[in-house]
Symmetry: C2
Subunit: 199 residues, 2 copies
């Protein structure tokens, strides 16, 4: 592709670091920012630098936060003996919004994926083991995603907990509320059928 200039090329290529942004949308974004929204572009550059400067991982639960220890880990009114394990910071937000859970969290920031070189170290498992060894946790709640990688990660962590005689639970699988049977994938349907409950 012909070039309009080095800074323009560099911006097109830099935008590719965003997930889901290919060469065509990177070019469209670049032209949009430079032609139509320079103020938005300057604001984005500043917000990026601020976030990179200020945001780190909570030393205790590994969630993204802007202090050493996050607000939930600092909250002594939360239950100290339940530990809910999630893949992403957004999962914490979703659980906080949807449930009355008031225990602890641990954020893996991903799932085991040997092909991508993501092993236990990258997910903070050594830190998790330290926590489990403190003997404060009575229940580990696995809330990884219901994908192959999420399940494998959950299985790996459940072994760590069982070795330490800690109770392990995981989120129930089944038909989503409001879901219509004919549109549910067959794996979920079969799981929900075999796990049917008395009413």
């Amino acid at each position: 592709m012909a070039s309009l200039g080095p800074s323009i090329d560099e911006l097109i290529s830099a935008l590719r670091c965003l997930p889901g942004v290919g060469p065509k949308s990177a070019q469209r974004m670049t032209f949009h920012l430079l032609e139509r929204n320079r103020e938005g572009g300057a604001h984005l550059a500043k917000a990026l630098m601020d976030a990179l400067d200020n945001v780190q991982h909570c030393r205790r639960c590994r969630i993204l936060c802007e202090s050493d220890i996050c607000i939930r880990c600092q909250d002594e009114r939360r239950q100290q003996d339940q530990l809910c394990i999630v893949e992403m910071p957004s999962d914490v937000l979703a659980i906080e919004q949807a449930t009355h859970y008031k225990g602890q969290y641990f954020v893996l920031s991903g799932h085991l994926s040997p092909l991508d070189g993501i092993g236990p170290e990258a997910l903070g498992i050594p830190r998790l083991i330290e926590w489990l060894d403190e003997k404060t946790i009575l229940e580990v709640i696995l809330a990884t995603n219901p994908t192959v990688e999420g399940e494998a990660t959950a299985h790996y962590i459940s072994e760590l907990a069982r070795e330490r005689q800690i109770k392990v639970t995981r989120l129930a699988h089944g038909i989503p509320l409001g879901g219509e049977l004919e549109f549910i994938d067959s794996g979920t349907l079969s799981h929900a059928f075999s796990g049917r409950e008395s009413i």
Copy 2:
């Protein structure tokens, strides 16, 4: 939605200035940058600031460029009497790659869109009129997009050229090469049919 911290919220909101990025993808992008690709994020912030500093519009043809007058406008070997009018800088690149055109360009940076407050001023029409009044242009080639807005913009400019006795052409419409008839939209097919050529 619960918050992880002000800098994180600010970055999620700043990413919304990118076209096609809604709240969900802005959040996904933010977590991706902060969790997985801080180097990419820092590079993006720098590339944005550099581009905003260095990139302006060519004083002559209004294309995005990094000097006062772009490389094509400086090139005296290009024909001076043909002026191809496009909506976007990327259209110039596409025409340069696909054709042997060696004339001048004028970049509107959009199309007339009264509802969005985009009128002739915003498209640089006063500058275009100056150029047409120099009497150096013998042919105006309209290469706006074949959309309602693009056609309206082309019509508006064709009037300006005709008033000055300048020849006006537009890109031929028809079946795209390699296109299969049954998948061509009916407007294009009808246009191609009525504009059929002797062979």
